[in-house]
Symmetry: D2
Subunit: 342 residues, 4 copies
């Protein structure tokens, strides 16, 4: 399978390279970067030396159109410029940015501040959360890979919302490692600014809020859309921990069983035994989402703990999972590895 | 002022030593430790070399009774063994452990698993949160220094609860650095276990839950006691970030003003400007609690962000603040320093 | 290939499990631990959930003797108790501890403080540094897997020493992440003790000193044995960076070429281009050793920078590499993966 | 004392603000920054809220000339533009950058790549290492505050070099926390790039090399100038650990006594007891330099371990110490605090 990657210099692109390097069916033929053009990927990421040494090239739709699949690991708003052309040439596309996640172009406009370049593709684009949309992904030409927070959150809430067990608003208190902020040269991402400190951000409104709300609404028409989402920055490189709080008045449901049954056949969702405390390191560098369910003190509030590696299940790993589905491969191909501990 | 410290080998004790070393009125005469008896405190904590070099001694009530004030920086359940004796001899006591925090002995029994050794003192003991109990602290012989999570949480919620603005249950999603787990030799506190990872713990019930619930109930008889408290471990040494969620149906209240007015004269509570994002490092090694208030998307849910240094305002600093109040000193004595940034 | 692991609860054991879990030829049938007997390995290390779930069992030579190969990931001095029995039964052994590294039993006695339990095996045991001893490893029944510091140091110095280019004493200033200190419950390994701090240790004499000296002496009879080795603890989980200083009076040698030629065919030693600065993260979770060579200011002192992951090339990865050699497999089997970056 | 600070937005400037905020004699009247002009310092550094809230202003020599002392916490090459003017107006100056450290203008030109703007001041400028130059500092109008690595290194080597005990070349293997790289928005300083990794840099030649060489040459005319200096980046915010290796053939000298006597009356150099292992955290946020001396295995090589906080004794703290000396204050004023541990 001939693969192209547009925008491979960020952490998401680097993680894609790492995963594809050992994927038995993937042959990365093109990787583009305007800023690092001509340099070998292994010069930028020495961890790839001897494993993947191809050079970054200028983005070129002509070259990309010879691929079977192109991943976009670009900033928001870039993929939408090239996707129509590539689709026309028969290339499949997985966009790891937000360009095709929100199906309503007005939502895109509101949260990203510019008009959408190809709103006509929004209906066709499949939201690439395999646990919700596996069949559609299998048929898709264009997959919008979910955001990191939305992945952890939706997998954590899906069994509750799908079964209409939630009353009132849902609160999601999420914590992310700093790789989620990308590889941009920003003071706010310096080690001296974020290490040994913890803070919330985006409290007034984060771009992943409409994505999560859209996802929950698709799980059940009865979801009322009330969602409070507060992301936090935690001083580590990788990992997301979403702690979700929902009111569930029906005490007769065995939530542990509900979760276990829902995800029984999912290769990348692990419902841990009752009483477990999922750590983000238990999914470091692997594509798992691990979940634990609590009803503290037997009250009405259910607490869902959900962890992923933001660069893997929250980005590049899920993209490879989607690729596997789109091309009829075993979904676990190239992803079936344990986490790195310690 | 002659000071004794019982149990000075943990992080709380070490922080007390650091703060008292530069306190102009405090003269630390005794510091006890069974395990390090005979060793200089500066041998265990070389950061104190040349500043405080007295040796650890065996605990001895006779010697301690010559002090004006004794701090207990011991594990839970130790202070209660000696406090009656010391009070009888006219010594004032500040306990940094939980022994005198819960006024109902049944609560102690339930959450700490043993009978209380001196339940007769629970009514007299003053809960040492100056922002709630300053006058009582001024008169107290025995002060129960609040827990770290309860300090951050109660200061964050006090203006809301005191003014009966909360409806329904309160959710507190709290995050702590690992110094909160103490200096015990536990696998779970090893750097290789907690660094680069994030997890919840105590979801089913944490000992600080009844302490917070008791505090909120004292702020208003109308608080219904419904509280969900989920602590998390975050990979840094110092700092607590409490994110509290409460439903406030009355949209006419200007919460920013309410908070600013409530804490107008408090030297150690800083209500930040609207839109601020308090970082735990902004209070590192200092006694401040910084707070920000949000009503995301104009909804019914209010989000309160509250940060402290768990070893300072959450333990040793607040203890020194209480000492200052008990002995008629300026409350800021020895505590009026900026945070360490970066 | 039937594999047994004795002592699988430490970080070295966990890393062995991680690597063997994806090794196509390895079938881990037994993993022993007295302390965790009966518990699934994935309960202790949730990162293995769904990938390796066998339980820890009591150590039992009878059971172990049914394996083709047994790894000892035990504290120093344990393997020597069982190895003779296992060898007698035809089982091959790789010891990841120090028991068989020093060929002179007096050295063992001096540095480890007890008599050696089977000195008769010391001559037979092969020191498992493939870059030095590949042929002997291929024939070996018993391989002593090198220490982490000795691996980084010897690979860094081999081309110089082997070619008798060194004059006078060699200085090795080495830095290790804290996983090298193991998973024992020690105050000195707590996050609050080692994070955000840096220190030397073992300056007066570290157990890896005689191992390195023995290795250098084997590279050349003309090595005079003068070696200063100072290890340091650096606040990260994985990685060793050895900085070696040697006096090389002969300015005619092109050191860069010498290094590149020496390691030309080595799958796990990467001589980086001149001017490179190897980072430990470029080998995180992979079996590479990356090396750079400098002669600062054109002086007599050569500076060698050498990095490995202490748990992989410095322990479990090298053990798997040795296993591959001993059993005639492609040496890279199960080890051919890129580093985890970021 | 009226104080001005030019360039207060970096970490060195922030640390100056923190130290001066509690200094009883210092009154910071001006703090300049082109980029943050108009913003309160406490907005950029919330840890200063309520303690120091003055605004950044445009640099203006007229305003600065009303100060008694101006600190330059600017990038290299900036101070030299304004210092002559300020000195003419009777203002004393402490430059925390490198502009006046090298007394030979050719050295400046070689290492910093531009001509020096006021070479006529280089002879007058006093190198502000109080342990070497206290008397000259007392008389100085212009003090060149030493670099961080040079401070740790020179204090570590001074007793040896001053007493002509060193033979041959000196090797300094130094490790710094990342705050030494400043607050610039560089990819190389991102948490995801430097956390959990360790690397050398500047091996071919670092700007602190000529500064250290000049310092050692001033300690003894017999120092031959042979110096190998390899700095490393260690994943923590604050702290420098210099490990120096020197050949000392005279075994009759009691080095421990020599060091203790040399620094007997120094308030900020702490020679630790024999066998100590100085940790950088033992000097975190304080102005101490702690030193330990070893002669491993009784050989000819002496190993000196020397730790400082790069932002305090390695920058702002030493600048305040110099200020105290220049203005006839007790040298410890405002600096007499313990380290922050943990």
């Amino acid at each position: 399978m001939k693969i192209g990657i547009v925008g491979g210099t960020g952490y998401t692109g680097a993680e894609l390279l790492r995963l594809l390097a050992t994927h038995p069916e993937a042959d990365v033929q093109v990787i583009t970067s305007r800023s690092e053009c001509g340099k070998a990927v292994s010069e930028l990421y020495p961890g790839l030396r001897g494993v993947m040494d191809i050079p970054f090239t200028e983005p070129d739709n002509e070259v990309l159109s010879r691929c079977d699949l192109v991943f976009f690991a670009t900033p928001n708003g870039i993929a939408m410029q090239s996707v129509p052309t590539l689709l026309d040439k028969g290339v499949k596309v997985i966009d790891l940015a937000a360009d095709f996640r929100l199906s309503n172009p007005a939502d895109w406009q509101q949260w990203y501040g510019v008009d959408h370049a190809c709103p006509q593709l929004l209906d066709e684009a499949v939201y690439g959360l395999p646990e919700m949309n596996r069949d559609a992904i299998r048929q898709a030409r264009l997959v919008a890979n979910p955001g990191c927070y939305p992945t952890a959150t939706q997998l954590g809430l899906l069994p509750l919302v799908q079964n209409d067990l939630v009353e009132g608003s849902v609160i999601v208190d999420a914590k992310s490692g700093v790789s989620g902020a990308g590889r941009g040269a920003k003071v706010a991402s310096l080690m001296c600014e974020v290490s040994e400190s913890f803070k919330a951000y985006g409290v007034a409104g984060h771009r992943h809020l409409p994505e999560i709300r859209q996802g929950l609404s698709r799980m059940s028409a009865r979801f009322n859309g009330e969602l409070v989402f507060v992301p936090h920055l935690t001083p580590m490189i990788r990992g997301i921990h979403a702690t979700a709080y929902a009111t569930v008045k029906d005490h007769s449901v065995d939530l542990q069983s509900l979760y276990e049954q829902t995800y029984e056949n999912e290769p990348f969702v692990d419902v841990m035994p009752a009483g477990s405390l999922p750590e983000t390191r238990s999914v470091r560098a692997c594509n798992q989402c691990r979940i634990a369910v609590y009803r503290p003190q037997g009250g009405d509030t259910v607490v869902i703990l959900s962890v992923i590696d933001n660069l893997v299940k929250g980005a590049a790993g899920q993209a490879v999972q989607n690729m596997n589905i789109m091309f009829g491969l075993d979904e676990k191909t190239g992803l079936d590895v344990p986490a790195i501990m310690p």
